[in-house]
Amino acid sequence: MGSLGIMIGTWLAGFLTLAILSFLYKDNPFYKLAEHVYVGVSAGYWLIYVAFFDVEPMLVETFMTETGLERWILLVPAALGVIMLSRWFPKIAWLSRWPIAFTVGVGAGLGITANIQGYVVPQLQATLLPMTGFNLVSLNNLVLVVGVVTTILYFYFSKPHKGVLGWAAKVGIVFIMISFGASFGYTLMARISLLIGRLYFLFSDLLHVID
């Protein structure tokens, strides 16, 4: 039964892979089938995942095991979750804006500290590179400092891009596009490795053409 189950699973995965890849030709019933199965199954999967890996351990079990403030504070997210369901009742649907506002506010607040600590300060520190003489290290430092400063100035919105600011912004967009080119090539290679992985599955696990 075990091997039969594995065989059926492999053939099903192979069929769905080919059905999704058939999209490269054009939209067709096989792609539609695979798409709807994928969307439906993944929606169901996430429903179960949230119920058993978020709500149950983080809310229900924690409420049962914790004591004191750690226990009763959990009533706040529980209440916000219940209030969210008020959307189903038009007369009190406005209540659902409270948990939304709470979520948005927390997200924005956390984002400020996280971005300053995680991006702004390290980037600022890493850009403080002096020129120590006429050598390649100094040239490298100069390019880096000019790149960072002009890129920041490209994203300065309080003045029109004219004059000195205009020139700095133009240099900045050149740096941005060069980095995009490098990023494009790098990511493309990663995607090709994903394709190779899927083709390997088809030719190895499904067709046994290669070991």
Binding site: S42, L124, L129, S179, T187
Partner: protein, 413 residues
């Protein structure tokens, strides 16, 4: 010379004494050296972990003690060490191992302590010939600290940033004129909606795959409000597939409010702002299907995107739709730049949402961010100039200017 357990117990004894002691122990079948004595296994003496110290882990929320140690008198045999075991005990307890540390490390953070309880630590040095325990460390107690001094730089920048934002928000609320330059791509929004109306085809707005707590999603939802107003005026269908239920609920509220604002609340259809799935590629497959079957004339890919960005943008390109994209994810921007007609790059996304809404809070935030950017540019230029001049004056880095530069740099650590 024979080493016993503990550095302070190391003693020089006469070889005859050793022979006598070993003989007595052998006759008595004793296993006093069963754990760790190298001589019992015929191996050479061991390096000993000693001078173990333990202190409350600095600048944390409590529950951690930092244990450090150094080898004394290893005799150049550090390479023989296989690793260290850290043992902990509280008063009245037996030492128990709480972690293993590679031979290259000399510190361990015990992140499982109870604040207010006194702990002592023993470090066990492991070698191929056995192990040796250190003397117990002094007692240490963990506690939480109110301030992390090493993050003073973050606090100052956050305070300056928030101060600038609040200042400009107040200014905007009082009616002050806040200039924001035109953002390329925004003018195309009206053109795209107009073209969809002329062609009698719908508009598709994809708000990304992240949660509503993501700033990229928040910016996308603001732009959605602007697009929804344009769409409502023209009577063009608007589809908004969502990957998160809260994003869907928020998007429904925004689209509903937009339709009401332009006087067409009856034309709002909540089923067009729908939830698909939170699964990344399940969502991508669903949106692709919508593009192929509904054939929207205008596609907005605005929000937080990851690996699905190129798949979505390529599908939109293949159906001939005018595409306007925007994301803060720098790794995905190249794909949008390559496959879309207009792209809001990084912070242009946030600026666009402020530009379109013209709300004092958002305008003030943008102006505050701009001021912070200028400060950062000034700091970089000034510090680099000072550092460079310092190195020109004294190539060995000994000048006062170099010291000022190093101080500024270390301040942002």
């Amino acid at each position: 010379m024979v080493r016993f357990f503990g550095a302070d117990r190391t003693a020089r004894v006469h070889p005859l004494t050793v022979v006598l002691i070993l003989g007595v122990l052998t006759l008595s079948g004793g296993d006093a050296f069963a754990q760790g004595d190298p001589s019992a296994e015929g191996g050479p003496p061991l390096p000993i972990a000693c001078a173990v110290s333990a202190e409350d882990a600095p600048e944390d929320g409590g529950g951690s003690i930092l244990v450090t140690w150094e080898l004394t008198d290893p005799g150049g045999r550090e390479d023989e060490i296989l690793g260290f075991d850290v043992l902990r005990y509280a008063p009245g307890e037996e030492p128990a191992s709480i972690g293993e540390v590679p031979a290259t490390d000399t510190e361990y953070t015990d992140s499982n302590t109870e604040d207010g309880t006194s702990y002592q630590y023993v470090v066990r040095t492991r070698t191929p010939f056995g192990h040796t325990d250190s003397e117990p460390s002094p007692a240490a107690v963990s506690s939480a600290q109110w301030f992390a001094k090493s993050r003073l730089g973050v606090l100052v920048i956050a305070a300056l940033f928030c101060g600038a934002v609040l200042f400009y928000i107040q200014r905007a609320k009082k009616g002050g004129e806040l200039f924001i330059r035109e953002i390329p791509g925004l003018e195309a929004v009206d053109d795209a909606v107009g073209r969809a109306t002329e062609m009698g085809r719908p508009v598709l707005f994809v708000p990304g795959i992240e949660l509503v707590t993501e700033v990229g999603t928040l910016a996308a939802l603001t732009i959605l409000g602007h697009v929804a107003k344009r769409v409502a005026r023209h009577g063009t269908p608007l589809h908004v597939p969502c990957a998160d239920p809260i994003v869907m609920a928020t998007a429904q509220e925004i689209v509903k409010a937009s339709y009401a604002e332009v006087g067409r609340p009856d034309e709002y259809d909540p089923s067009r702002v729908a939830y698909l799935t939170y699964d990344q590629f399940g969502y991508t497959a669903g949106v692709n299907g919508m593009m192929l079957r509904d054939r929207p004339e205008a596609v907005f890919l605005i929000g937080t995107f990851y690996a699905e960005s190129l798949i979505l943008a390529e599908t939109g390109h293949s159906i001939g739709a005018i595409q306007i994209a925007g994301t803060k994810e720098t790794s995905q921007l190249p794909f949008f730049v390559a496959a879309c007609d207009y792209t809001l790059i990084g912070e242009e996304l946030f600026a666009a949402s402020s530009y379109l809404s013209r709300e004092p809070v958002m305008l003030g935030s943008l102006k505050g961010q701009d001021l912070t950017k200028l400060w950062i540019v000034y700091v970089i230029i000034l510090a680099v100039v000072v550092g460079t001049v310092g190195y020109m004056v004294s190539a060995d880095g000994g000048s006062a200017l170099t010291k000022i530069f190093e101080f500024v740099k270390s301040w942002f650590n």
